[in-house]
Subunit: 311 residues, 2 copies
């Protein structure tokens, strides 16, 4: 008898669910568009439908031990599982995701912040597999962060640690949705790339378009990515001095523009961080891509199930 879990990655654009075996194999993966203005009831109904599909596909030879949700909310870092501050899915603000999942599913329920899930995933199966202490930065609509110390996710006292996207890089910089100004999220997210491109006279609607322009030789697009790499590098240099990690993994959609920003990013780290930790740290690209969060959520659910079994 094999064992596995259901793992869900809740994003502003897509809702993805996979049945994942305890060795990390994805047994079945299904995807829906996240409905516009999705309500909590609709979300649970959709998740139930997707779970039924996964269960039917994997058949009866795999026992499911739990379900885990990776959600783009800082509050998904705490043990309560109440979602708050979801700028891209505001209709779910205040939802008690953990309680709602418990009502619908008969499995143990785990809720993780999406960036922490990605950090766990990359450490389990991906780029930071051999790194004891690593940091993941996810460049998507926002900038997320997750920290692994000595092989374990670092959560902080209230479970809110890792909000690296909201480290300030320009004190009087661009206003941020978090209430501060000049957060690195305002210079290194996919959203920021589009805004900075517009400030440079390029009117595109996605960071992918800006990257295509860069690949086509557009110097204004190149400047945008150089700025983005520099600002992100300044913040990462501070983390290198503060945490002296083995590795920093860069993930999320905008990490696809790697060759456009990685040079200036590494330059800032080497310029600004001390010699020993800046020589130590490897800057790596995600190996799991879109599946980092789903695999990390799966890993959390598996570990939770094991700890329940031990108790």
């Amino acid at each position: 008898m094999n064992e596995g879990v259901l793992a869900v990655d809740l994003g502003g654009t897509n809702l993805r669910m996979a049945a994942v075996a305890d060795d990390g194999a994805i047994l079945h993966l299904t995807r829906r568009s996240t409905p516009k203005s999705v309500t909590p009831v609709e979300l649970i109904s959709l998740a139930g439908e997707m779970a039924d599909e996964c269960i039917a596909k994997i058949g009866s030879e795999t026992t499911l031990l739990g379900i885990a949700f990776a959600a783009p909310a800082p509050s998904a870092r705490n043990s309560e599982g109440i979602l708050t501050r979801l700028p891209n899915i505001p209709t779910l603000n205040g939802m008690n995701l953990k309680a709602a999942l418990r009502d619908r599913f008969s499995f143990p329920v785990t809720v993780e912040n999406d960036a922490i899930a990605a950090a766990i995933g990359e450490h389990w199966m991906g780029a930071s597999k051999d790194a004891d202490t690593s940091i993941i930065i996810t460049l998507g609509t926002g900038v997320g962060g997750g920290i692994i110390i000595d092989g374990e996710p670092y959560r902080g006292v209230d479970g809110t640690a890792g909000e690296i996207g909201h480290v300030c890089v320009i004190p009087d910089g661009h206003p941020c949705g978090c209430g501060s100004r000049g957060c690195v999220e305002q210079y290194a997210s996919a959203t920021a790339i589009v805004r900075m491109a517009r400030e440079n006279g390029l009117d595109f609607s996605t960071s992918r378009d800006v990257y295509n322009a860069f690949q086509g030789g557009d110097e204004r697009a190149a400047i945008v990515f150089r700025q983005m790499g520099s600002y992100l590098g300044i913040v990462l240099a501070g983390l290198v001095n503060t945490l002296n990690p083995d590795m920093i993994v860069i993930a999320g959609g905008a990490s696809g523009a790697w060759d456009a920003f990685i040079g200036p990013l590494k330059d800032e780290i080497h310029l600004r961080a001390f010699h020993a930790p800046s020589t130590r740290v490897k800057i790596a690209r995600t190996q799991l891509g879109d599946n980092a969060g789903i695999l990390g959520a799966a890993r959390s659910a598996i570990l939770n199930a094991e700890s329940l079994t031990v108790v």
Copy 2:
């Protein structure tokens, strides 16, 4: 029979040594001026003379288990004990402090970075005694940092973690001795306070003088401390978002100007950090003052002696 250790705080101005009992009581403390351009040989000779004084004073009823040095060098964070990058005692650059101490003393030798030692000291006996996860910031000639996670000093992969003074707060700011620009050390150290005062037309030679002017009602001095508090607060807000600690302890000579900078510092944390971690974190003033480093070094030596005994 009581047990204790010798602990030394090596500073640019003073060399202080104490015999410390294993319960943290300071049995005897002695101090010398750090000789101008002190050589490694002179340092060890002076330490030997101070150790002889301590040993004579405490008498034979206390067994000494080891000696620990807290040194103002990032490299004192690593296990080698070779001092590098001591801007204030450059004549000791390259000294293998650990080996030299082993040659002179018959005790086990511990070398700690001074800010990590202060963090250990405050967690053992001082302000952060009841905090599992805390950060110390030392405001002296430079800005040092030390991190305690789950009660243990966090050292990073190479032992260089905690260099919070070299987190950037203004990307194109004042050049820093570390090779970067705009490090918070350039805006929050005692040295920086004197420089910023001069930029505001106040010609003083110590940060204490600037503080005295503040207390006398000088508005230019008040501006300097407001700037200092804001810049330090911006960096601490980033650490609050990243590490979600219980407490931040502010120590070092310039922390004496507490009432002049703490308001703007806290304002920046509350403005810039997320609600949950900024509500959680207590901002506390050192309780051990000048003795934080010496007590932390003592604690390290005691723990090292215990681990040697167990082995």
